[in-house]
Amino acid sequence: MTCTACGTFNTPDSRFCKYCGVALQILCKACGTTNDPDSRFCKMCGVSLTAAAPAPPPRATELAIDGALRGKVAEVVKVLGGLNCGRCGYRTCAENALAIVRGEASPHSCVQGGEEAARQIRAILGHAERPSFGALLWEQLTSIKLAIVLIVVIVLLSVIGTLIPQGKDPLFYIASYGEAGTNIIKALLLDQLYHSWYFVSLLVLLALNTGACAIKRFRVSWELVSKPVESRTADEIAQLPTQAKLDAHLFEKLEEALKRWRYRVRREGTQLVAYKNLWGRLGIDILHASLIIILIGGIVGGILGFEDFQIAHKGEVFTVARGGFQVRVDDLRVEHYPDSGQVKDWYSTLTVIDGGREVFTKTIEVNEPLTYKGISLYQASFGSDWLGGAELTFRVERVSEGNAEPIGEITAKVGTTFPLEDGRTAKVVAFYPDFIVTEDRRPANRSQALNNPAAFIEVYNGDQREFTAWTFAQFPQFQHEFLGENPYRFYLVGMKAPEFTGLQIARNPGIPVIYAGFILLVFGLALNFYLPPRRLWAAVKESTLYVGGLGREPREFEPEFEEIMADLSPCPSSHPQSLSLRGKRGEGEGAGGLGPKEEITSHG
């Protein structure tokens, strides 16, 4: 019968699903109604549900396998791979193979092998029918394998995006990679990689895959957390991937040990149920749901939000179009540390004006934005507007008979003219904060920063232009070395410019969604890793105590289980294997609990 929660095929007499442990529903053979697993009569038609309980299926090593089947079993074992992970519910691949060949287990039972294994096994068994394309597609889309592949591809693409600078001017790429390189970059959208259709598609696909896996998993999760843990018989316990057989007299000791380990223990005669942190199972469901929520928030923000940059001077009023309000810059201020002169912070005092009325005033600084009508203004940068009206100070010298004589200092704005002597005037034509000469011998600015201040002056005698002069703040010797013949020398000794504030204006309606996602993400992670669920069963049969359990996944529980077992038998025997572990090892080849031993050696 098929488990309704996870879809695993189970033998008809199983009360619990081999894979996910959920209690199985009993199907009434007469009317087809599903009944609770411990029902004795059908609730709809009253027919008795329980035949005499058949003996549990004998274990593989106890059977004589007839020759025809033996070959098939061997082939199926090869397909399954021999990992003995225990997730099919059988301890070893050999046992699962036998069950498959005998028709007691489904070809799909191997979680590790997945679709591929199922296909091969069906071929070995000679089955004709194939699952529908839809089923195959769904299988692939909801596999962790796809998630792993997607993550690897996204990571590789992301690395490329950090090696090639993003979002720069085409000229930048030509300068760095040449014409040919730039063409490739543009064609593959490598300069806008994170916004390219292929990258976004991968993210969306990952989100869909996560969503599908989350739904699949949540059905099992809900079954496990919402129903009470049922006790199990010794034979059922023996089928668990993590289990041991101990001496029956250790039953009380086990109960005490479990209580010490903070399990909730429920004893029912010779059976025992212990569990803790059952809700921890939902951790993974919550965190995967949160990833999808975060992605949704990102998309919402991307579509409905905006980002703008605004430069403003003191006294200026600018309009925030999307909000329908205006902002007046009342004051700009830079604060420096007293000792070092290093910038401590930038402040802008802003007043919000809506419908002609002043709403409020706030002084913003870095890390301290202003918000109005859902739109925020951030203090992003600060600077002097060197290209927007600098005020320069020159020290002027008059040259007569080879001697230079200072005649004073003058401050003038760029574009203005100031008087010299004898009817001469000097015009401050241009100012370059970061002067360079381009390839075609023209003056230009390499950047907007004050790296190499230079000014260009024209001197007029009446209406006639008499001479011109370049002057460099960092190279005063230029005046007397290269322009020594000029009757006047101009040394650039000071410069000021109106300060501006650089404001990032942004609205992102996705933010609350994303923050909610963050909270759920961390909560889910903490729940999953710090409070892993544990279910443990024990039952006495004849003089043996069967103990077994399930954790987050079969293997994850092992170390704790082994420690609990070690707790019961603190005195090590002279034989290297302690009493408590002998039971597991005695089971034969690679009992689930010690499977990794074989993995480690085989992959050495």
């Binding site: 992970c85 992301s158 942004a506 963050f518 293997r555 070690a566």
Partner: protein, 294 residues
Amino acid sequence: MDSAFFFYLSAVGYFLAFVFYLLHLVGSPSDGQRSGLGIVATSQPWVLKETTWGKLATWTTLVTVLISTVGMVLRVLEMHRVSGMWMLPVTNTYETLAFFAWAIPLVYLLFEWRYKIKVVGAFVTGMAFLFIALASSPLLSSEVRPLVPALQSYWLVLHVLFTLGGEAFFAVAFGAGLVFLWLQRRGGNLQTLKMLDNLSYKAIALGFPFFTLGGLVFGAIWAQHAWGRYWGWDPKETWMLITWFFYALYLHVRVKWGWRDAKTAWLAVGGFAVAMFTWWGVNYLLAGLHSYAN
């Protein structure tokens, strides 16, 4: 005596601890079951028989962590004196190195106390020594400098604290992974290998939520607060995401394929390398808004 002095002293301490752990490893007596490291106990064969060197190593590490803590407290006071602000010492390369060199042995001591495994001790103290030695070297200045405007935020503290805290766990997993690979090569005891694999897994599992909270969540919230956008795909943010995906991969391959051997050990090693690249490589090799080096 300023904070730099105590950090320098802690470098000496970690070096001594490193030597003591090495001596503990080679000097442990064996008892019938010899397997490369003289491993003894029966139900817990990864526990070496305790030696004087081993005890000394643990105590030295503990004392050095305390010395480091004194250094950190002094640093907080120094920062306040220079800039008037109360900040935890995580504001520049020197301080974050010192913080990391403090966090890793602290996390390791917790694991040592819980799992009684000391094979990784030499490696961890060696790492801590390298970090604090680098900080104390002429390459970095120990000067307390006031913060640029962008760093004046308690989000900075939260972001760095939780990210490095998580990475301290990853560092222990890194050490366990390396020891695993080395031991496997020389044919070590299988149960020890299993324990090392468990240790790696436990360390990553415990550190991952911290790392997510600090690196992704607090980083995004801080960016939103300071720059008006929580995610800009700049190299630092992108590499942080890559590191996160790497460890997520580690966890997923264990679930999907039950990998528990050399492959996962390599992933634990690789993940830490990626994390270190995110911390160092991005700043000094790539450029961007995040890069304070440029």
